[in-house]
Symmetry: C2
Subunit: 152 residues, 2 copies
DNA sequence: TTATAAAAGGATAAATTTGTCCTTAATTAT
DNA sequence: ATAATTAAGGACAAATTTATCCTTTTATAA
């Protein structure tokens, strides 16, 4: 469905939104641990998300790290996918045809259309903040460990 | 969404189902042309589909080629995905978590659940035959060319 | 003002997916 | 039988994605 890049981008952003604020920034080590992802690769992906503070904000140096502004928290999940250029899922033809469209549909176009629409809505109508809120009230997980990893 | 492998598998199977019968088998050249796919790679993928006549049937030698039996035509689209081991889309977590489940949901689990269910239904309730029928009545396409390619 | 801590960035490597080519095996027309 | 035709299969190559490592830049604490 999504590439590893997109998966890590989503997980990292949600994690940072959950635990990070402007005066409690998260380091890349904590983020990668928190979401069970390869550290350096995640750092690379965060670079995409932090360009022009697009989705994630960051500062270097001591006490630096990653966090989300209030503006960013209101962004739709789609903004994360945009940042990593992974919007294909909600734009492409299921069969991979370049020319597939309403006027030139593939054999699955009609059936798939409805699903694509819902996917689109999921990504556009859901804000990062909403996911964080849900995580806060429910008992939701964003990594593969049963219990939070111990700090060493 | 789907890998190239899965896309070609779907296109090829639908194309063969449309144009091929036991006594009018299609050669790999025609299939690849018909669906705009790389020939050798498509041949490889068809090998997966023809194992034990799983989805596509084939015979070698003169007048050989690919076709679908009546039994195969009744198979759900999912059978094609199974043959190329591409069922992840309808089983995996959107965020790529190994442990994501009803009892241990990720932050998008609830919203995504409904979509996954529909995708699953699309692949399970739609038979290859149905897609062929639709293609026959409507003006549907399975390649990128406006008009069918000329035979040389 | 210097040392330290952090992200940014570049180069490279590993793994996977996608794609090609050539040989082999099977079928059938001649 | 033999030659021609076709899919099957194996080895390899190219491209892309995923991942790592090292250096540079930036910020701040001491």
């Amino acid at each position: 469905m999504l590439s590893k890049t997109a998966e890590y981008a989503l997980r990292a952003t949600i994690y940072i939104a959950q635990k990070g604020t402007e005066d409690n920034k998260l380091g890349i080590d904590e983020v990668a641990e928190g979401i069970d992802s390869p550290k350096s690769f995640t750092a690379k992906i965060l670079q995409l998300l932090t360009q022009n503070d697009r989705v994630v904000s960051s500062v270097r140096g001591r006490n630096g790290g990653f966090y989300l502004t209030d503006r960013a928290r209101k962004l739709p999940v789609r903004a994360i996918l945009e940042a990593v250029e992974e919007e294909e899922v909600i734009t492409k033809c299921v069969l991979g045809l370049k020319e597939c469209s309403e006027t030139r549909p593939c054999p699955m176009h009609l059936q798939y259309k409805a699903i694509k629409k819902q996917l689109k809505q999921l990504f556009e109508k859901t804000s990062i903040q909403q996911l964080v809120e849900e995580s806060n009230k429910g008992n939701l997980f964003i990594n593969n460990q049963k219990a939070p990893k111990k700090r060493s």
